[in-house]
């Protein structure tokens, strides 16, 4: 009798509930797409407890009326230490989401404003660098809000094919990458050849050897054969103005269009742009710029590139409307993000902080650019 009552009472309580159907989660984020990802419960639990393993979980993705199928796995390096981390998504053959088959859902853990990727793409894109495609999405995973993510194109074969850009070689760098053979540097420790994926780092080794041996007189003749010096100086100046903390070692990729062409740069991962915990100075530190600055011509080029972008590109008139428009678009999703709006932060305050930092950097460079020397 007791067991029957113990069942019946809660049952009556349940049946007495006023109910409605499923909420329309996509409507909460306005124009911003809600990406609803579903995997089996077992895969989901395994994914949560194994973020350092790259185990792929077969996943169904829904945006609006569309379903996409593919796999999802934890992604990133430093972000995996955090409660909020990033994912890599690869859709099945023939499927594309926002034109991308393989992409990262980046948590942008160092960018509370979620605006730095927009800023970086705008600046480096305007300077002529191949720039990864990116848009914001609000991610829900197995019915739980994960938050606002940047859907970021991966730099792989497809990246070049989509742009009609020839590629002979693509190199990725890792944490603490060095560009000098001094102090027993081992190439395999810091670099990976992604295209072709054969581990052959000889041509990179030749560039680094040329950097080590270069002098003021032979810089363009020796290093210039291996590296697009002007393009690199333009990249380095922009990365320095934007205080791109990771932009001098691990967050830049090197590619060659043909076997004979010099390495060019593809900028990568902008969540540490205008990072306010450290300052890279007027010339961000790495072995490449140290070698190039043995040449007075390189120093002059660096200054002229920096001056040009400060005059026409890195200005409030050019960049702030873009940041404001993006903030308006992501606002509703930002407010729902468990680590952003729901954690008590303000997008308006984060956006202002970013803009103020950018203006401070600009003023410092305008004032001190001419003081740069060897």
């Amino acid at each position: 009798m007791t067991s029957r009552i113990s069942i019946l009472l809660p049952l009556l309580l349940l049946l007495g509930c006023d109910t409605e159907g499923t909420p329309d989660y996509a409507a909460r984020t306005g124009d911003l797409p809600t990406l609803d990802a579903w995997m089996t419960q077992e895969q989901y639990v395994s994914l949560l407890s194994n973020r350092w393993s790259d185990e792929k979980a077969p996943t169904d993705f829904f945006i609006g009326e569309q379903r996409y199928r593919g796999t999802m796995e934890p992604q990133g390096a430093g972000s995996r230490y955090h409660a909020r981390w990033s994912f890599k998504v690869v859709l099945d053959a023939g499927e594309e989401l926002h034109g991308l088959r393989a992409f990262n859902l980046s948590a942008q853990i160092f960018d509370r404003s979620m605006l730095r990727t927009v800023l970086g793409r705008e600046v480096f894109g305007a300077l002529g660098f191949p720039s990864f495609a990116s848009q914001h999405v609000f991610l829900r995973l197995n019915g739980r809000d994960r938050g606002l993510y940047a859907q970021i194109e991966r730099v792989e074969e497809d990246f070049f094919r989509r742009r009609g850009l020839p590629v002979y070689e693509l190199l990725k760098t890792s944490f603490g990458a060095r560009f000098s053979f001094k102090d027993d540097m081992l190439l395999e420790k810091y670099f990976a050849r992604e295209i072709p994926k054969d581990g052959n780092l000889n041509t990179l080794g030749e560039m680094i050897a040329a950097l080590d041996a270069a002098t003021d007189e032979n810089m363009f003749r020796t290093v210039g054969r291996h590296l697009d010096i002007r393009g690199y100086l333009r990249y380095h100046a922009a990365a320095s103005i934007l205080n791109h903390q990771d932009g001098f070692a691990n967050n830049l990729l090197f590619y060659k269009r043909t076997p004979a062409s010099p390495y060019e740069i593809i900028p990568w991962d902008f969540d540490k742009l205008l990072y306010d915990q450290a300052d890279v100075g007027l010339v961000g530190p790495n072995d490449i710029i140290a070698a190039l600055f043995r040449s007075d011509s390189c120093i002059a080029l660096y200054k002229s590139e920096a001056r040009a972008m400060l005059d026409t590109l890195i200005t409030p008139a050019r960049l702030f409307p873009l940041l404001d428009a993006t903030a308006d678009r992501i606002g509703p999703a930002w407010a729902l993000d468990p680590a952003l709006g729901l954690a008590g932060f303000s997008l308006a305050a984060e956006s202002s902080r970013l803009k103020e930092h950018l203006m401070r950097r600009r003023e410092v460079f305008l004032r001190q650019l001419d003081t740069i020397s060897r």
Binding site: P23, W52, R67
Partner: protein, 342 residues
Amino acid sequence: MHYRFVRSLFITCLIALAGMLPAPLLAQKVEFSGYGATGAAFIDRNPVAEFNQEYYFEGKFQVDIAVNKKIDAQLDFRGHSKDKSAVLREFSVKFDYVDLAKIKVGNIKKPFSLEGLADRDEYIPINDSYLHRRVSELGYDGRNIGVMVYYNFKEKKPEYPFSYAVGAFRNQSYQTSVYARGSVHPGGGSFASVGYAHLSRTHDDAITTHGLSIDAGIESAAYTGSIEAIYVQDPEEGIRRRLMGADDRVSTAGAKLLNAYRIDIGGEVVKLMEPWIMLGYFTPDLDVSDTHTLELMLGVNVFLDEDVRARLSMDGLFSKDARADTYSTEGSSFGLELFVRY
């Protein structure tokens, strides 16, 4: 995709078998077990209605290897039609040198809750309870790599009317956990248990949380009844609260009550019917208990054989936010399944 899955499962089984066929088979006793299931689920969830029906098949292939009288090993492969390949779910080694203190090492279940320790082929409902799903997502239930010392009560040894398990685990999300669980078995198929979990995550967003589970139940040929209550601290929400400068102890709790009756039919086709009902409650934050989920699961298992079951299951979820007036039925489902154990 189904072809790839079947091929993958087939190759996995072949590899497992091939590795066991040579000479060691003569010295080691090897047993195979597992299950296969196929079914359909109709789910109330937000994605477009046409995708709210799932038709699936899944299987488990388990190999138990008695290396010698004191050492056993186990391999457990699983595959689901949603997956692209079969996966190795568990490898474990059991050392049986001391009867009251067996040792298990491997990717094993963490000894926390009653449902968390149940095998899929022992489930009465088709799906996990909502409470178990949420507690697993928070990291308290599920498998991790670890070492466990334990003893499981055996009816033929009534002089030891208890079970216990103590274990230490580590996962690949920088979480170290320590578990302890004990049960008493006073007789007549009854039991009562208490479990404790200590979870500690290091590196950025480090946090330490605790969990407590209590359960009691009775199991006989005609009836299974159990009640389980769980209290855990939510590490994810705790980190978020800390960001806000608030207390990072977030108390989550839930309970569930399961009753199943077995009716002997003894027919040519249907041997046994097992109607069951499960009621559950879960709140993600005890301080805001107006935000909660009520669960009503109903179903019947029709036994065509001891190892062959046709299953019908309705899982009603009624979730309410403290700020809302009504309950949402999101996540509710209806399922049909044919389940064969071997």
